[in-house]
Symmetry: C2
Subunit: 390 residues, 2 copies
């Protein structure tokens, strides 16, 4: 009758058909949050709107100046740096679109039981910090280095394994210039908010969120491949529980729409009035630059080219797109689909794996177009964009 | 076969027994979010951690300087003010704990179907702005005034009713000095984040969140009682659908614990090791100052007095409390209960109404205390606070 760590954890599982979201999934959903999709209009996401996924607790760091980052393991000169030391390096700022590897999970059938994202686990920020390769050069990576392991201050249990959150990158990625990995201390020009890793986090442009270790306190160069829980057990693409699986790495392409019109509070159905509507949204890929966005207003039966705005020099950030639509009374389903320069695109049938990772099924936005503008209603014309008949 | 607003809305309903959280509730939960409870440690909540509940879309306001606030209706001198005009008034800053009226809803049986909060829909911020009474004095409230109506820029449908979000206060409350209602333009010393009402919101210290109208653009003094949807239909305490119901107004007392130890990712069970642990948390009431917090470590069977910190002059903000506990191996349920100066306290049986409003059932925090510290585990002693046996 002992009380062991394993008693706190349930095994990974899939929801039964028609099983609603459970108390455990809800407990994650009430504390983590996605980007409200109407705020896709912002080029750079204000911090409180950027998606957040924290495995354990957000560490309480009352005094940033006491934070220490160590670089050790297979290096010639182990380093111990505080924030002032890091700020003494030439800063680099990169605009990065960050997406959770589990985005879209709650729409899958069967549904992997975990953080129940719909499609909103994304955000774009300007991250400022020191290139990781500068720090590794300073420390001097020894011969035979294989992985660089990153340890955060967040501590918890997962499937019976007590752990500090840890992830690794291959040494070539860690030392690479494209993308250039950052040890970031600022987000949108201000110190990191607590939920985004205050005071330090890793930023790995193009990679899913699990690689961007928050509350970073330790960097360790190893001569073996890292086999920690978040690398070898979690964040793998598996069809069956016994598969070794492929690791989750870079972000596959996705486009999202700013839902047009206005919502019903409870159903979240979008309502528009008849007439021309400019659709807009964002598209990104961590594999290669997005080169094409198509839009469908008939639930994927036909597709039309959207106008893609230039990337403005921000290779690792989403791009805005626009497309016209003339709404007619009735029910419609809007979708957008991104394709990148390597030809990766979004599937119309769900890509499924047991973790629900890297799932970029096209978004479906149901829209109700009313028969006509309602005379005397406030805002009757604001979203339909067309003159109301008298 | 027309397409009308009502087609977007479902009627208010209660979940069936054992019905999981539905797609509609999840769509609210992924965009709105609560306070991660470990961040109750902050006296003032960083904006991205403060709870957010938006009925419709967050309005996109690219340029604050174009925002206009009008004061009209039954006044002698209608006003039209921009942000610069408002900043010209002597600013007032008030620390306020804000809680959603629906906090705790998802724990109710039966569960009202709406935003599915557990207990985390709360936050505390320093709001800076102009006292509403100063603006109303400037405009000159006419004789016979009954209500003051506040209109936000957020627009949507709710149970078939298209609306801008609107709420009213009785004229005496709007003109009152205790609490002093603010038209706020800053949160924690910075411009309001978009999700908290940028550029202007109402702050009504002591009242539930529905009164704090965000994206405020219009203040109208009326000689009749306001009967808009959010006043007369929503936010009423009703046992049966046909009841008129009592309006939801001021916040009833609540205490919350910082969950001790560390969590399991999926079950959110808290894990501690044997030994002394300092429990801490916050307590608040919008009715009268909190005067007492009690703690139970045996699922409500016995209660012990917690030490309540002084309010530091912040009458409308939560107060910190602390209590000792010696954890012993096994499963425990921790709770805290607040009482205010008027004798209001928290029930041990759920207070129920059809909206799930003002429900301050005591929090239950299940904790697993392990048999002993795990040798060699990182952080083995960090949370138990006691020396590990060798």
């Amino acid at each position: 009758m002992g009380h062991r760590l394993g008693d706190a954890s349930a095994p990974a599982r899939l929801a039964a058909p028609d099983e609603g979201i459970g108390r455990d999934e809800l407990a994650l959903a009430t504390r983590n949050h996605g980007l409200p999709l109407e705020t896709l209009r912002h080029d750079v996401t204000p911090p409180g709107l950027h998606y957040v996924l924290t495995h354990y607790d957000i560490p309480y760091v009352p005094d940033d100046t006491e934070w220490q980052l160590t670089l050790g393991g297979l290096v010639r000169r182990p380093l111990r740096l505080d924030l002032a030391d890091l700020r003494a390096f030439a800063p680099v700022t990169t605009r990065v679109t960050l997406e959770c590897a589990g985005n879209g999970r709650a729409l899958l059938t069967p549904r992997p039981v975990s953080q129940p994202w719909l499609v909103e686990a994304v955000g774009t920020a300007e991250w400022t910090g020191v290139p990781l390769r500068r720090l590794l050069e300073e420390a001097g990576v020894g011969p035979g280095a294989v992985d660089v392991v990153f340890t955060g201050a967040d501590h918890g249990v997962e499937r019976g394994v007590e752990q500090d959150y840890q992830r690794a990158l291959p040494v070539d990625t860690a030392l690479g210039a494209d993308p250039e990995v950052l040890v970031a201390y600022a987000m949108n020009g201000a110190p990191l908010p607590p939920q985004h890793g205050r005071p330090l986090r890793l930023v790995v442009p193009g990679w899913y969120g699990m690689a961007h270790v928050k509350w970073l306190r330790e960097v360790t160069v190893t001569d073996t491949q890292f086999t920690g829980f978040q690398q070898a057990v979690a964040y793998r693409l598996r069809a069956r529980p016994e598969d070794v699986g492929e690791p989750v790495t870079r972000i596959v392409p996705r486009a999202l729409l700013v839902p047009p019109g206005f919502p019903d509070f409870m159903s979240r159905t979008r309502v528009v009035r008849p007439g021309p509507i400019e659709l807009e949204g964002r598209a990104w890929s961590g594999r290669a630059p997005v080169t094409r966005v198509e839009v469908s207003t008939d639930d994927g039966h036909s597709w039309h080219e959207a106008a893609l705005e230039p990337d403005g020099g921000h290779r690792w950030a989403w791009r805005r797109w626009r497309a016209g639509w003339t709404a007619t009374p009735g029910e419609h389903v809007l979708s957008a689909r991104a394709t990148d320069a390597e030809g990766h695109t979004q599937p119309l049938e769900q890509p499924w794996n047991r973790g629900g990772f890297a799932n970029n099924l096209v978004q479906r936005v149901p829209v109700l177009c009313l028969d006509e503008p309602e005379p005397g209603q406030p805002g009757a014309d604001a979203d339909a964009g067309a003159g109301a008949p008298e």
